[in-house]
């Protein structure tokens, strides 16, 4: 049994964890829940040996464990998939899985001069990946893998570690539908073998489906731990945010303007002959499994991936700005070392500055306004954005695009990693952007989200748009079958 007692942690005076008690029993999948910034990742980092200055004590099977460094935590039997990626991009999947225990068992005192056998690593990794049906090649270079496969690599690493306690911080955020199923199968296997499994998610239906118990945190405190069979999604989210969560406002009947984006015969590295239009005020979803070309199409519209064909976006003044919300906020969305306020304002500096001077006042008011509107949890607009919790970074990135006023938005996975309440908030904001007349291309893996938000859905399969669905006359099941086996 894992027992954490009275865990407290503060960052320069801000109390982030406040006497948290947390308990996980063997053969259990335990969901750790809480709104963005509640302290889930911080609690996990304490377990991972990243915050040796945290107060309180942690026992594993009645014995105190040493959480003073990542290494001692690992050796004590704690294996973690952190929220942010921690892989070595230039190395293979196998090398990443066994990083730090190249002789395949996690004993101490590995001599540095010992020979490394890559063949053995590949074999071992191959066997493991097969056994758990993770569907990635052990000799693939991590840098070249899509986000989902990278996430699976991290999961495989924790399995390989064979830790007694296995912790997954928002593992499903980057996984497609099928990979989620795979992960839950892995959970079942691990649980049967007596492991203690903790996982963080913002998808409460996942919690009901796979977790035995759930613990809910709010503002650095542990609120409650319950049997999932004895609670409901509504009750859990109420405990998380402290009030009822209402679904998003209904989409008003859109008033469509002139065509804002027109794509004709676009072909690129993994897609062919893609054509579609989006009118001002319209929300168009684009979906497709990994490898369907959806990601590449989206990225070629914003100009990142070169493609042949024809794209025209009609702006107001002959020039078009595209508001872009990337799915990978950490790598592509934030300036980690800059303050939250600057991160939000950076998109409109040029428009608002006079004589190239920074529009300091506007920066401050807009920053504060966005922080308030999206309820971004931060010590203030001066805090470095890199210090915010994952979901709050996501909200800030969205907020930046929200304040400038382009006629076209390309939005990828807007609510990944965002808590239930904030997701509603963001959905409402997207509706408002459309009502203001902007065209919106929404690329997401979350089928419920696309069903809720989009007026039309483009379905991609093997590099082509195979279907265009009118959301009002479509069920989720239609959508799933249109996407194919992938």
């Amino acid at each position: 049994m894992l027992t954490m007692r009275g865990i407290s942690k503060s960052f320069s005076g801000v109390q982030v964890l406040d006497r948290v008690d947390f308990e996980v029993t063997p053969c259990e999948v335990h969901a750790l829940l809480g709104a963005n910034g509640a302290g889930k990742s911080t609690l996990i980092k304490v377990l991972g040996g990243l915050y040796p200055d945290a107060e309180g004590q942690t026992l594993l099977d009645e014995r105190r464990i040493d959480l003073s460094t990542p290494k001692t935590a690992l050796l004590s039997g704690i294996g973690i998939v952190h929220q942010e990626f921690d892989l070595v991009p230039e190395m293979t999947v196998a090398e990443n899985i066994y990083l730090g225990f190249e002789n395949l068992h996690l004993a101490d005192g590995r001599p540095l001069w010992q020979r490394i056998s890559r063949r053995k690593l590949i074999e071992a990794a191959g066997a493991l990946l097969n056994e758990y049906k993770l569907g990635i090649e052990p000799d693939a270079v991590v840098r070249k893998l899509p986000a989902g496969a990278q996430q699976l690599t991290q999961i495989a690493r924790v399995i390989a570690l064979g830790s007694r306690v296995m912790i997954f911080d928002e593992p499903t955020a980057r996984l497609g539908l099928r990979d989620r199923e795979r992960l839950f199968d892995v959970f079942a296997t691990l649980r049967a073998s007596g492991k203690l499994i903790v996982f963080v998610t913002h998808y409460l239906d996942e919690v009901m489906a796979v977790a035995d118990r759930a613990s809910v945190m709010r503002d650095g405190r542990m609120m409650v731990t319950t049997q999932t069979s004895a609670t409901t999604v509504g009750e859990l989210s109420r405990t998380m945010v402290g009030s009822d969560v209402h679904g998003p406002a209904k989409r008003k009947q859109p008033t469509l303007g002139a065509t804002a984006l027109s794509v004709k015969g676009l072909s690129g590295p993994t897609f062919e002959d893609v054509s579609f239009d989006i009118a001002g005020g319209e929300i168009v979803g684009i979906v497709g499994h990994l490898g369907s070309g959806r990601h590449e199409v989206t990225r070629s519209i914003i100009g990142q991936i070169p493609a042949r064909g024809y794209i025209s976006a009609h702006g107001d003044a002959g020039r078009t700005r595209i508001g872009f919300v990337p799915e990978n906020r950490r790598a592509e969305g934030i300036f980690a070392e800059l303050p939250v306020g600057t991160n939000i304002a950076i998109g409109f500096l040029r428009e608002r500055s006079i004589l190239s001077l920074l529009p300091l006042r506007a920066m401050e008011t807009t920053g504060a306004d966005v922080v308030g509107r999206l309820q971004i949890k931060t010590a203030g607009t001066e805090q470095k954005i890199g210090q915010l919790s994952g979901g709050n970074q996501q909200k800030a990135v969205f907020g930046r695009e929200m304040v400038s006023n382009p006629s076209l938005y390309v939005i990828e996975a807007p609510t990944v990693g965002v808590d239930v309440k904030a997701a509603v908030e963001l959905h409402n904001e997207i509706f408002k952007l459309a009502e203001r007349g902007s065209a919106i291309l929404l690329a997401t893996d979350d089928l419920d989200e696309v069903m809720l938000m989009a007026d039309r859905i483009l379905v991609m399969l093997r590099g082509r748009i195979v279907k265009e669905l009118d959301t009002r006359r479509t069920t989720r099941q239609d959508l799933v079958s249109a996407m194919g086996a992938g």
């Binding site: 991972g48 990243l50 460094t69 990542p70 290494k71 690992l74 050796l75 973690i80 952190h82 990626f85 921690d86 892989l87 070595v88 991009p89 230039e90 190395m91 090398e95 990443n96 990083l99 730090g100 190249e102 590995r110 001599p111 540095l112 001069w113 010992q114 020979r115 490394i116 840098r143 899509p146 986000a147 990278q150 990601h295 990142q304 990978n328 790598a331 592509e332």
Partner: protein
């Protein structure tokens, strides 16, 4: 797959392009292809070569070492001071060991400054560059130190030949192979790549990051020391001003060979190719009496060509991570 071909081209194309003038030289210039000239070429390449091998190690680690040039001078001076202070065969061993030990200490200090004091590698080794140069100038009072007797014989040996091959060149080859094996086949090497590739991941995986870094800087310095011994053996004397700007040449060679300044990438094989190419082109320019002023410029041009070549139009090189 054309994509694969393209990425090979990005990686190795520059060598083909640089090889071209050398092949032309080889065909049209009988002096260039004389065994004696090739012998010289190999010998000349070995000094920068040894330095560049060490540099590659710290570059892969995500670091940098600007102090190798002065460390080379330090090795020479210490070695020849010991030579000058005694006679008998054992003085040679003593001198070499003292020199390399001093280098190891300097390198370890570099590593400690970088890991324990969080000074960026650039600044730490820049400081060390001046510090060591100052030390060398002070102990020699700016004078050259020379060797007689066994020390002189040792210098002659290093500059001599073995089975028709230059001793210095053989030493270079041996060290290059040893470090290549260390990097590619040992756990230490694996950790060097891991730390350079993603230091945070390395820390989370519980790797001995500090230890690996200190060892790498120490090894880099020791290799620089070996370079210094080769350099001083040319004249059987140590100059306090030896090795100025060698660090830049070493870095140039490693970068031409594919080492990335951000870390995580590079190979000894590439670096050795880089050194040989630079030396061969310099040698060719010499044969046509091109002034050394031009040679410096050409080196710079080659560097820019090499890096530009591997990154221009290469999407992989830009960090479009997913």
């Amino acid at each position: 797959m054309s994509h694969k071909l393209l990425s090979y081209w990005h990686r190795w194309g520059i060598f083909l392009i640089l090889l071209l003038p050398i092949m032309v030289l080889f065909v049209v210039n009988p002096v260039f292809r004389q065994p004696g000239n090739l012998f010289n070429l190999w010998q000349q390449a070995s000094i920068i070569g040894v330095l560049a091998v060490g540099q590659t190690l710290v570059l892969i680690l995500g670091g940098f070492d600007l102090s190798v040039g002065t460390v080379a001078a330090l090795a020479g001076v210490i070695c020849y001071l010991v030579f000058a202070g005694g006679d008998g065969g054992s003085v040679v061993l003593l001198g070499v060991l003292a020199a390399l030990a001093a280098c190891a200490i300097v390198g370890a200090i570099n590593g400690i400054l970088i890991t324990k004091f969080n000074i960026t590698p650039l600044i730490a080794t820049l400081g060390m560059l001046s510090l060591v140069r100052g030390f060398v100038l002070i102990v020699t009072e700016g004078q050259l130190v020379y060797a007689e007797g066994p020390g002189y014989t040792f210098a002659e040996f290093l500059q001599g030949s073995l089975f028709g091959m230059p001793v210095a060149g053989l030493l270079f080859a041996l060290l290059a192979v040893a470090v290549a094996l260390l990097l590619r086949r040992s756990i230490f090497g694996q950790y060097v790549f891991a730390i350079g590739g993603n230091e945070k991941a390395a820390l989370l995986a519980g790797l001995p990051v500090v230890k690996v870094k200190i060892l790498s800087y120490a090894l880099c310095s020791v290799l620089a020391g070996v370079g210094g011994l080769l350099l001083s053996s040319r004249t059987a004397s140590a100059l306090p001003n030896a090795g100025v700007n060698y660090e830049l040449q070493a870095i140039t060679a490693a970068v031409i060979g594919g080492a990335a300044l951000g870390g995580g990438k590079g190979s000894i094989f590439g670096t050795v190719l880089g050194v040989l190419l630079l030396t061969a082109i310099g040698n060719g320019l010499n044969l046509y009496n091109v002034s050394p002023f031009w040679q410096t410029g050409v080196t710079g041009l080659i560097l820019l060509l090499a890096v530009g070549f591997s990154t221009w139009g290469n999407r992989d090189a830009r960090s479009i991570v997913r």
